[in-house]
Amino acid sequence: MARILTRQFGLFEYDPAAAIEFPAGLPGFEARRQFVLIERASIAPILFLQSLDSPDLCFPAAPVRAIDPQYELALTADDLRLLGSGAAEDLIALAILSAPNDGPLTANLLAPVVIDPRSRRAVQAVRMDRRYSHRHPIVKETACW
């Protein structure tokens, strides 16, 4: 097991084989290539994408289908090349969450983080179409009207 001292979770132990490589980094964080997923049953479906290069860097995320059950992925040839996937099957798709103090919780459905569990490679697949927003509001289903 390997260990990293994270800002959010303190000392975190992980299996090095579970590390995920982003060959192109993520927009805004192009130099950060190695991440690990931190999941806690108590806060599911929220999970965290923790950088292994930078202990302070961590993105909250949730499966896109937990936010929009009908969500459809759109991957470019470049995305598939970076993932090293022959086929776009069994891919894990997460939306990075934003929790501003002056607005609603939002999810970036424009650019899901797509992970190939076999190659352990990932890419933030920024869509070319305008079907989904980079600030998709997460609305509670407990509507009160």
Binding site: R7, Q8, L26, P27, G28, F29, I43, P45, I46, L57, C58, F59, P60, A62, A66, I96, L97, S98, A99, P100, N101, P104, L105, N108, L110, A111, Q124, V126, R127, M128, H134, R135, I138, K140, E141, T142
Partner: protein, 76 residues
């Protein structure tokens, strides 16, 4: 917003040294050629927005932000 009509082969200049040329144009797509100094970043807008959103998401993981996150998902 400034609106300019151009045809393929024509170009426009922005500030010092940024040139945008219309290379090709179909009913659904425009192909642009961009000449800019090295220090000028050229990004598709979606990627720029995602970069901003990523920086925001990473900066909000304070205890307060964590509470907002959990609260936002309660009832989902």
């Amino acid at each position: 917003m400034l609106v300019i009509r151009r045809r393929p082969g024509e170009a426009l200049m922005i500030g010092e040294g940024v040139e945008i040329e219309i290379l090709d144009c179909t009913p659904s797509q425009v192909k642009l050629g961009i000449r800019a100094p090295k220090q000028v970043t050229v990004l598709r807008k979606e990627i720029h927005l995602t970069g901003e959103q990523n920086r925001l998401a990473a900066s909000q993981l304070t205890p307060d932000g964590m509470d907002r996150l959990l609260d936002g998902f309660r009832g989902k």
